[in-house]
């Protein structure tokens, strides 16, 4: 791509303002005066020919253009900062950046983070979440955890956990479910993968009703909806142990269907660091134990 001169410093100022909500606060974060920030934005707006902020006495409000610009910058700078962190050999602690499937991060990894830090205090773990779309190289990550059925070109993969799917719903709704066929008249919440419900009904040897309604690309959104009584969601049960033990979600039927498993993956063209090896060993051992979260 043919790049014009990117006003990178001005863009960083812009990004901080968007997070802080005001020129003054951004100036404080950047350790410069408010005037410097005002200058930078004035020049940036001028060079782009676009107004980025509406000024108000309470702070600034981004325009449509500003809102368009922000996510790209935030993501880009984050990725750059992450990869720089990793290169910084002066640190004693090792930094390990992992992109983790959101469901796995909240349902499995988070409750065990304390255990990991206790076992490896020398590793500073940086976790960024994704909904199964992640590119290790571009995002400046060391490794990633994703759900699937394997087969990721140029990546080494270790299977971590089987995660069979089963219907989960609120207790009130579960009380009305005696038989899988009862589900045919319930609202069934759809994930992004449309083959899942038919697969489960197949396993339950019950005809599958047509599935309608909105689609959500996150198991967490589905779990929230199900817990709120909006319907029945097909979810990886092991990731919702806590919800189940706390009564927010109930599994009405034992039948499960295989849809994939969680994998730990990393680029096969990279030399593994000590931190990568240690994390890999730790998480494989933890998954073998397959124990409930310790929280």
């Amino acid at each position: 791509m043919d790049r014009p001169d990117l006003p990178l410093n001005a863009l960083r100022v812009f990004e901080v303002i968007m997070r802080q909500g005001s020129f003054t606060k951004a100036a404080a974060e950047l350790r410069v005066t408010q005037a410097a920030v005002s200058h930078q934005i004035a020049r940036l707006e001028d060079s782009l020919g676009v107004t980025l902020f509406l000024r108000s006495p309470q702070g600034v409000i981004p325009t449509d253009e500003g809102r368009l610009l922000f996510p790209v910058l935030e993501h880009g700078f984050d990725a750059i900062a992450r990869v720089l962190d990793r290169l910084d050999r002066r640190r004693d602690i090792e930094i390990l950046s992992i992109g983790v499937n959101t469901t796995f991060a909240l349902g499995w990894l988070m409750p065990r983070l304390d255990a990991f830090h206790a076992a490896h205090p020398e590793i500073d773990l940086r976790i960024s979440t994704h909904n199964n779309r992640v590119e290790i190289l571009r995002e400046g990550l060391d490794m990633a955890i994703r759900f699937g059925i394997g087969g990721w070109t140029n990546h080494e993969m270790i299977p971590l956990l089987e995660a069979p799917l089963a219907p989960l719903c609120a207790a009130a709704m579960a009380a009305r479910l005696r038989d899988p066929a009862d589900l045919q008249h319930m609202p069934l919440l759809r994930s992004y993968r449309s083959a899942e419900w038919p697969g489960w009904f197949g396993a339950a040897q019950t005809p599958c009703p047509p599935i309608k309604g909105a689609i959500f690309d996150s198991s967490l959104a589905l779990a929230e909806l199900a817990a709120a009584g909006a319907g029945v969601a097909l979810l990886p049960v092991v990731m919702f142990d806590r919800h189940i033990s706390q009564g927010q979600l109930v599994q009405p039927f034992a039948t499960t269907v295989f849809a994939g498993r969680y994998y730990l993956a990393w680029r096969s063209d990279r030399v593994s660091t000590k931190a990568m090896n240690n994390f890999s060993r730790w998480i494989v051992a933890q998954c073998r134990q397959n124990q409930a979260p310790t929280v």
Copy 2:
């Protein structure tokens, strides 16, 4: 994320060196002297505590650390440049950034680009390709074309083309195929989606043999392999019209299986620009005609 002070200008210098292969050429691209480049990299290496380049009389060779840093920077700066382009209201021409599935880009869009430019000379089309993993917001895109079965949270989607899959292979191999059952003893090339071959054998009412071998996440890689005689690939036929009419690939059986379609998508929380509307109208009309590429 807690960001250290990002030495953004130095990083941009680094990125240019990686592309140009030498300090001197990078200096030319940046329109500064070679000494300035040398300074910037020396300071960057010093502050990171890491050597980024091995110097040689033929130019510079990146170290492992340098190779790690590059893709993140390249991608980040590209995304930033793209979104800035879009904001630049001083231009008369409108810029439209589209992330396009690689197969669709090469198999369908590329042969029709001339027609689009003729119809809309005022739109400057920027295409970046992806293998079906794309985030419109983060990448600074206006729209995206992807393959799937619909259902993308927070996105509007228009179905463009059905793209049923059929086996394709080299002519020499096709000569040995009389009946779908003959495929059971042929090397079957695997895509990332493992359900596809079983789906096709189902449609052909033939038992599906176990599928082995490497997995490729790109239809183009599969097509290359198939054309080279390495095996039979299950591919969206409409995207390989040219290969077929030129005899590089042959479709031995008429049976197809549905695996998804191509969609045009954009964020539902964004106001559509005139360029977005025009492109959308144009591509929908082109797909309706469903004609062979004009090349």
